[in-house]
Amino acid sequence: MTNLLNDTQRAQAAAAPTKSVAVHARGLVKTYGTGPAAVKALDGADLDIHTGTFTAIMGPSGSGKSTLMHALAGLDVLDAGQVLIGDTDLTALGERQRTLLRRDRFGFVFQSFNLLPALTAQENITLPLGLAGRRADPDWLTRLVDTLGLRERLKHRPSELSGGQQQRVAVARALVTRPAIVFADEPTGNLDSKHGQALLRFLRDACDDLGQTIVMVTHDPLAAAHADRVVILTDGRVIEEIDNPTASTIADRMLQLDADPNLDTHACSGPGFGSGSTQEG
């Protein structure tokens, strides 16, 4: 993959202010089920995501990381709490407005079932624009397709593409509307490591070169290491944020969480706690 921008553009992008808040979430609560079977997927999660950053959401299975992303992306409705997307209060929007918000301002990459099998790669890429009744900006589309190496595959249907190609088509689709935020849910989950790494590097470049805000859910420390910041969730709360993470710092933190079954996240929420049973690496 080549870079999306030339040097001048990169310089401009870097000079742009990147510290404004793209997503501002407070006190998110989401419960599934009722009665004794009820599961609190989110239990008062707070989170800010800055414009132009690449954020990874991590946490053990059942920690609520997918629910958090769905809530931020307007795919799920919260029981309590508030999510601001720029100036827009997502939690106050109706179903139709949330759909339009997703269509026009968000991009999505899922783990699997990312593409419509009946459409060609090109049709899949332009799907959100088609739904909005708009045409793709040809220059932008060309640049995306070339950067992602999809030029030769545009007329193919998903069944004729490799897993990596399919996922790149999904990324192109996510970026084609020049969205405010791209949400990626385990985007490398179904890819081998080579393709997975390539995809992550591309997301990293999109963030660096274009100032693209990216929120990614993953359980893979290697994937999360591409992010500017890792947000760790346990039992429905954000318990830790790691800036400029490396794979090993993340892995250690995760191991720590896994190794202490008696960890009381309610008592020790926030960064900086440690049981001392694992070593910093």
């Binding site: 179903e95 139709r96 339009l100 899922f110 009946a118 179904n190």
Partner: protein
């Protein structure tokens, strides 16, 4: 195993609901037909059996055949002396003379016209009628009627009713009778009078219709029958009363045969169309459960067990459908009766008969059709390998054998088209039938290839017109992704619409030919006919007597119909008056003249060609009262003009009188006196015929219309019934679209996630069902028109029948199809709209 099957079926009951409905509808139809005809048959049996309970033997004039085309032959009266002669014979206990005929009841100036016969019979006290009130008729002015008619028309003892037979007489009601437990006979009015009164009303002189014989004590009926035959000779027909009852019932029932056949054929069509729907459902169920079935295989189930479990579900579903269909069929019988009634085909009503055979047929039909339809899916399920349990996204699409299918289907279609072409050219019905079957089979085979392509192109055209963009585009793709399913759905609708189109085109063509033939050949300005459409015509001879001497009337020429046997085959003939027929008709004769008919027969050119005979040859004709005669052929008539006179064989009224006992006129062709306008003459004729409620006076144009009335009725009936198949096809579309939503849940979740609004999603689903409907409409109309065009040519056999495509009819069909498309998409669209995005994405 059975419990597992039952549990599986119940677990999928939501998805099986429409399938269940389709099976139920098909079975309902079959059961309704069987119950209706069984009930009517039972009525006929009772009617004729009870009528001769106490009588052992019936003596009648001997005839060559008892009944033709469901009409009992009328016999000559017996010599009254025969009664005393018979009574004196050894072994005879009693011999009772009986007169039987038709007598319309008129109460308060209003005729009572039942759907069935108006019976007029002399009182014997032996024929099943029992007095409910009053006394038996004795005096010349006394009559006894059935309690049911009396109740229905508010007639009480002491009232006067008019009985109209060959004479009209006012009679006093002195008694009311029931019949067995019932208050009367179904769809029948009964008038019982003394023997002499009946003879007077029917102008029989001292003639009698039959003699009822009761054997003396200790004499066996069979022996007495033999003795009487030996003594009375061949002129008298001696029959055990049970046999005559059975024969009469059989004659009445033979007419039901046509109705049963036609209804069962339509029920068959409904079942075939339902089968498409069932096949689709099971195919989707298997696809959707691939992983589950693979787990079963991995756990040790054999392929055969998996197949058995799918077929087991089909059996459970079939049985449930059969049970529900049987219940609904009992109700449907009533509806069918009403439909038949509206179409002018009345069947008698009685206590509902649900025979064991009906139950067995319902069960067999429900289970067998479901099993056959599910077989393909079950076989596919058996081939699922255990590995698929582990594989991610194993929900493979069903394709495969596409080329075999394409070749097979194309060959079948080519054969069908060829057979249709040849059949059309040589005007052979069997070739056309085989051609149609092959064409349809080929289309069914090609459906998975043709239908999705059709849907795709129609979708393209639709987007070009509406410019609706992505949802329409996705709908096109949606219909294309499961070709076999889309194909079956389109074909189900196409077949049902093709049937409707076929019936309406053939109907319109035949109708047009009938009318134009009548218009050209019949020049009489006024036509008098019976409104009841009896097979042999229903005008009492008195009808002609009342009008022939009117000043306003110039010529009255009558036509009569009769049946004869042509080496065992029953045929109809028309009797006409050679002296007057020229005044009221204008027919083309190929050879000879109508006025020279004499005691010969004129046949159509086509019949002459088929038989290889011509003028100067003889035609062997068997009549009920004469046995076989060699009748000289004295002329040949143009085929189309003969149709205006209703049959291919014409004889003179004088010959008719010699060969037939029947005295009913079928049609009176009337020409006004010179100087009298048609409306004047018509008014005079109508006035003269007041009080004859079953007689219809029409001008030439409306007479031509009336010729097609019964045809119209039947066409309406068939179309109405065919709408049921359209309904099933509609369920099929709903089913297909609903199932494809289930199958595509994750996909729908994805498009919703990336920004498709609910409205867009609903539009997409509705468009999908509309596209299927339009494809079905185009395919069905094409097949329907093509086959009916060839059939019309074959029926015409070079005659005056031309293809007429009823534009209003077709527009209606198109409207119905589009409506079907819109309606069948509603429920699935609503359901898809309610889909939660997240649930959809998470769906496995």
């Amino acid at each position: 195993m059975f419990r597992l099957v039952l549990k599986q079926t119940m677990a999928h009951r939501g998805r099986l609901l429409l399938t269940f409905a389709a099976i139920t509808l098909g079975v309902t139809f079959v059961v309704g037909t069987l119950v209706l005809t069984d009930t009517s048959r039972a009525v006929f049996d009772d009617q004729f059996r009870d009528a001769s309970t106490e009588v052992d033997i019936v003596l009648r004039d001997a005839v060559a055949f008892d009944a033709a085309m469901g009409v009992e032959v009328e016999r000559d009266p017996l010599d009254p002396q025969l009664t005393s002669r018979t009574a004196a014979l050894p072994g005879v206990g009693r011999a009772i003379p009986v007169v039987k005929g038709t007598g319309l009841l008129i109460s308060d100036g209003k005729a009572i016209v039942p759907a069935g016969p108006s019976m007029l019979t002399s009182w014997t006290g032996l024929d099943g009628f029992t007095l409910r009130d009053g006394q038996a008729p004795a005096g010349a002015d006394e009559v006894v009627i059935d309690a049911a008619t009396a109740t229905a028309h508010d007639i009480t003892l002491g009232d006067t009713v008019r009985v109209q037979a060959d004479r009209e007489v006012d009679l006093r009601v002195v008694g009311l009778v029931g019949f067995g437990d019932a208050d009367g006979l179904p769809d029948t009015t009964v008038a019982l009078t003394s023997l002499t009164t009946a003879q007077r009303l029917l102008r029989l002189g001292d003639g009698i219709s039959q003699i009822d014989v009761i054997a003396a004590d200790g004499t066996a009926t069979s022996e007495l029958t033999e003795d009487l035959r030996a003594t009375l000779g061949t002129d008298v027909d001696v029959a055990a009363s049970q046999d005559t009852a059975a024969a009469s019932a059989a004659a009445a029932k033979s007419q039901l045969g046509f109705i049963t056949g036609a209804l069962l054929a339509l029920a068959g069509a409904a079942l075939v169309i339902g089968a498409f729907l069932i096949a689709n459902t099971f195919s989707v169920l298997v696809t959707h459960r691939t992983r589950e079935l693979a787990v079963l295989r991995a756990a040790g189930a054999t392929g055969r067990q998996v197949m058995a479990s799918i077929l087991g579900e089909a059996t459970v579903l079939g049985m449930a459908g059969a049970a529900a269909g049987t219940g609904a069929g009992l109700l449907a019988a009533t509806g069918l009766r009403a439909l038949l009634d509206a179409a002018g085909a009345t069947v008698p009503d009685g206590p509902t008969v649900l025979s064991a055979r009906t139950l067995l047929v319902a069960l067999a039909v429900g289970v067998v059709v479901t099993l056959l339809a599910a077989f393909g899916a079950a076989r596919r399920a058996a081939r699922i390998s255990p590995v698929m349990a582990m594989r991610e996204g194993a929900l493979g699409t069903t394709g495969g054998r596409g080329r075999v299918r394409a070749v097979f289907g194309t060959v079948l279609m080519a054969l069908g088209v060829a057979a249709l072409g040849v059949g059309g050219a040589i005007e052979s019905m069997p070739a056309l039938g085989a051609g149609t079957a092959a064409l349809v089979a080929g289309l069914v085979a090609l459906a998975p290839i043709v239908a999705p392509a059709a849907v795709h192109h129609i979708g393209g055209a639709l987007s070009a017109v509406t410019g609706r963009g992505v949802p329409t585009g996705l709908a096109r793709e949606g219909a294309r992704r499961a070709p076999r399913r889309t194909g079956a759905t389109v074909m189900a609708l196409a077949l049902s619409l093709a049937l409707v189109v076929f019936v309406s085109v053939v109907g319109a063509s035949v109708r047009g030919a009938l009318q134009s033939g009548f218009d050209e050949a019949i020049t009489a300005e006024i036509v008098v006919e019976s409104a009841r459409g009896e097979m042999l015509g229903g005008l009492e001879p008195a009808t002609r007597e009342r009008i022939q001497d009117l000043d306003e009337v110039g010529t009255v020429s009558r036509l009569r119909f009769g049946h004869w046997k042509d080496s065992g085959v029953t045929r109809a003939l028309t009797a006409l008056d050679p002296a007057t027929i020229g005044d009221v008709t204008d027919v083309d004769m190929v050879e000879g003249r109508l006025s020279d008919l004499g005691d010969g027969v004129i046949i159509t050119e086509r019949q002459a060609a088929e038989r290889g005979v011509g003028v100067g040859d003889n035609l062997a004709m068997t009549f009920a009262r004469t046995d076989t005669l060699e009748v000289p052929i004295v002329g040949l008539i143009d085929d189309d003009d003969a149709k205006a006179l209703s049959t291919d064989y014409l004889v003179s009224l004088a010959s008719y009188r010699d060969w037939f006992t029947e005295r009913m006129d079928a049609t009176l062709l009337v020409r006004p006196a010179s100087g009298t306008s048609v409306p004047e003459a018509q008014k005079a004729v109508e006035k003269a015929l007041t009080g004859m409620p079953t007689v219809e006076v029409r001008d030439q144009a409306s007479a031509a219309e009336a010729r097609t009335a019964s045809l119209d009725g039947i066409l309406t009936l068939i179309t109405a019934v065919l709408m049921l198949t359209v309904l099933i096809a509609m369920l099929g579309i709903t089913n297909t679209v609903a199932l494809s939503i289930i199958e595509r849940t994750r996909e729908l979740g994805l498009v919703r996630a990336v920004g498709m609004t609910r409205r867009q999603l609903r539009t997409m689903i509705r468009t999908e069902s509309l596209l299927i409907a339009i494809a079905g409409l185009l395919l069905g109309t094409t097949v329907g028109i093509a086959t009916s065009a060839l059939f019309v040519r074959a029926i015409a056999q070079g005659g005056d029948l031309h293809l007429q495509v009823p534009t209003t009819g077709l527009a209606l069909v198109a409207a119905v199809a589009l409506l079907v498309g819109v309606i069948s998409g509603l429920a699935p669209a609503r359901r898809a709209g309610r889909l939660e995005v997240l649930t959809a994405i998470r769906e496995q």
